[in-house]
Amino acid sequence: MVNNILVYIEQRNGQIKKASFEAAKVGADFASKFGSQVEAIIIGGDVEDLEKISGYGVIKVTHYKNSDLVNYSSSAYGEIVANHAIESKNNIIVFSNTSMGKDLAPRISAKLDCGIAMDCTQFEYDGDDILASRPVYAGKALIDVKINSVKKIFTIRPNVFATGAPVDGTAEIVVNELGNLNLKTKVVELKQSEGKLDVAEADIIVAGGRGLKEANQFKLVEELADQLGAAVGASRAVVDAGWRPHSEQVGQTGKTVSPSLYVALGISGAIQHLAGMRSSKYIVAINKDADAPIFQAADYGINGDLFEVVPALIEEIKKLKSN
């Protein structure tokens, strides 16, 4: 049986998401393991730099195109991906575990009646079986799962798999213009937080907790985030207190994140918070309480008053940038 691979490439506003290149690379790794081929599918209107996918070992890209598909439609996208997967006879489908991937992948699993492993962070092989490792309980534990159906779907956590440098390659690009679509679910408006980075996608996160004492002190967090080009995160305590929106919450009832750098300001490190951010590559904690559990997870800590330390840190970063 040839395990050919299909990778779902995600676009928003006509631009391919970084996480999709990671998915393509994972697909290419599967293909080299199984001696098979990897192709890609993308749905949308006009897409910029589609040929960039060639750099990740993809031999063919099918672009389903219609101006009504610029925004996500769960019903239409689901049907297109499922039909393509059936016709192209690919056995393994890889998505990114983004808000679109999380919505779309399970529909394909139900349509194809096949197993799915979500939010994978590592793959190993047992003969021809793929063992997918994924965090559960927001990272308090991991499970290795094996999919026993012939067709298999994996979604991969963004920011975990390195893409490496693009390789030489030319993928065949097939544009499939679609006629009139009847969208059962339709995005009628996109409300984007202007210029705001989302914690789930950011490479650096600066997060604040109760130690900031009051909502308007969050400007320290925002200013440091600004200087570092980071997203602003928050602990559950400050979200529940109404200081910050839930979209910024990191932890078990918020978002699970894996940035390169996580800076925790005045966050003690409750178990549900640590679960959500412990897989960050580097963690910095600034906290007055020497016994705060966050120091157990931190690579670098300053056990001091954040109201003194953070302004100094902002100045130091500014200095660094002006040099």
Binding site: G78, T98, S99, K102, D103, A105, P106, R107, S109, A110, K111, D113, G115, M118, D119, P135, V136, A138, K140, A141, L142, I143, D144, V145, I147, N148, K184, T185, K186, V187, E189, L190, K191, Q192, E201, S247, Q249, T253, T256, L261, I271, Q272, R278, K281, I283, V284, F295, A297, D299, Y300, G301, I302, N303, G304, E308, V309, A312, L313, E316, L320
Partner: protein, 248 residues
């Protein structure tokens, strides 16, 4: 209108997790179980919809007798009745969805709410799968919900913003935190819940596609270094981030 709310029974988020003897699941000993936190938003939205438009709210859960504790909490919040689809064996997400879809079809419910994910296996997929199996429309991760003349308008959270989605009944909606403020069960509600029925049925049999091979602990992180106690440590912190970690 018949509204179904699907609920799951999960360890409290404050619980420490230890791996059970089978090496595949957690050890449930000494772990407090609760209504999945996101399901509380689903229950609240179902109740609000019933209060506005009339009808009844039925909770459906797949699992063992242990789930009854969670189901009672939903009944105490104001859910009218409940169905427990029993299965002693663990099910993968698609098998859970198949059991739920069959029961929702039996009930003839047009509107179904789920929490956007269970905080145990964190898949966030059963709602979308159930919708697909039923051929219902579906919007996941809802932070607002409006229903008028069969038409639905939902804002769903995405990276860095929201999508405003329009669709129509029959539909499945999965609830994100922020959709509403779940009510507390009143004493009267708790008393009334004792008299409400939990219908028990065998969950429709089906085969799992996904098998858990083993559960592992995450690699423990080595506690790092405390660089200092005040602002004088900042230059050293910045140097480490630049030279050792190379992240800024």
């Amino acid at each position: 209108m018949k509204i179904v709310v699907c609920i799951s029974h999960v360890p409290d988020t404050a619980a420490k997790v230890s791996i059970g003897e089978n090496g595949k699941t957690i050890d449930p000993k000494d772990v407090a179980f609760v209504v999945n936190p996101y399901d509380e938003y689903a229950i609240e939205e179902a109740l609000k919809t019933k209060e506005a438009l009339g009808g009844e709210v039925i909770a459906v859960s797949v699992g063992t007798d242990a789930n009854k504790e969670t189901i009672r909490k939903a009944l105490a919040m104001g859910v009218d009745s409940a169905v427990l689809l029993k299965d002693e064996n663990p099910r993968d997400s698609l098998s859970v969805a198949k059991a739920l879809a069959e029961e929702i079809k039996n009930q003839g419910a047009e509107l179904v709410f789920f929490g956007k994910q269970s905080v145990d296996y964190d898949n966030s997929i059963v709602g979308q799968m159930t919708a697909e199996l039923l051929g219902y429309n579906c919007v996941s991760v809802a932070v607002t919900f409006q229903l008028e003349d069969q038409k639905i308008r939902v804002e769903r959270e995405i990276e860095g913003g929201r999508e405003v989605v329009e669709t129509f009944l029959p539909a499945v909606i999965t609830a994100q935190k922020g959709l509403n403020e779940p009510r507390y069960a009143s004493l009267k509600g708790i008393m009334a819940a004792k008299k409400k029925t939990i219908e028990e049925k065998e969950a429709a049999p089906c085969q799992n596609h996904v098998e858990v091979v083993k559960m592992k602990r995450p690699t423990p992180k080595q506690a790092g270094k405390i660089i200092g106690n005040d602002a004088s440590a900042v230059p050293e912190l910045v140097r480490l981030l630049r030279e050792e970690a190379q992240v800024i």
